[in-house]
Point group: C2
Chain length 136, copies 2
Amino acid sequence: MSDLLERLRGRGWRMTSQRRVVAEVLDGDHVHLTADEVHALAVGRLPEISRATVYNTLGEMVSLGEVTELSTDGRAKRYDPNAHRPHQHLVCSGCGVIRDVHPAGDPLTDLPPDQRYGFTVSAAAITYRGLCPECS
Amino acid sequence: MSDLLERLRGRGWRMTSQRRVVAEVLDGDHVHLTADEVHALAVGRLPEISRATVYNTLGEMVSLGEVTELSTDGRAKRYDPNAHRPHQHLVCSGCGVIRDVHPAGDPLTDLPPDQRYGFTVSAAAITYRGLCPECS
DNA sequence: ATCCTATGATGGACTGGGTCCAGGTCAAGA
DNA sequence: TCTTGACCTGGACCCAGTCCATCATAGGAT
């Protein structure tokens, strides 16, 4: 059921009830929760869990590469458990809803050598913006 | 000299010494300052200018479409005066330095219709990441 | 040149998102 | 079952940004 939890377990992560709850809350597709939203959902299952633990746990998941961070609105960061399958994001300028999308081709190949300024470029994150059906 | 200032003047913007200083400080290529950096530089020319005014002025410039906001590190937003020429950003994962880059082609065309979920997609922002020559 | 007034500036309080830390707790190996 | 180092807690703290009551002034009207 919980892919994310399985992947973390496989890395020898010390399993605690707090970490289990955070991983369960965050699991799924098109999930892009803020840390406070994760905390609110986690409290529903484990009332004593602290905000600091949620922040720490999310930070560790990001370091392990099992979760990615995105900040689409300059406010709270959002956490995306779908890190094992590379993808980009489509954000509604009206209501802020976010979809995972898969553009054609590899965005890295669109950056010509003379535009790389000697960098070793390793990743590209794309945020598409527009209006969703409800907002347009 | 100040392209940004000229463009703002041409829009009938009420010109004050504070706005002039903010526009001057922000003008140029590959400029990606935070609001507090803009404030620090502005204070050098106009010691009494307040933080609130810098925030207000930057916000107005963004609304007018003369300056774009970017948040590459999830911390302070950065302001880019180069809004009249569309471009993307290349960020060093080591030191955080930012370059303006111009990828080949239009990123919007890489998003197939079946990946648009009924959205009217109007823009795409790409952040390339890698290591700059000094950090690699 | 001077006056008037709406627009802009000020600074200090306040908020939201996030980090830090000292002390208490517990998972899991021996 | 014991031990211990990793983990959790809650509260203080920090930074980026916003709000607001009051003061200042750009620039049109006279």
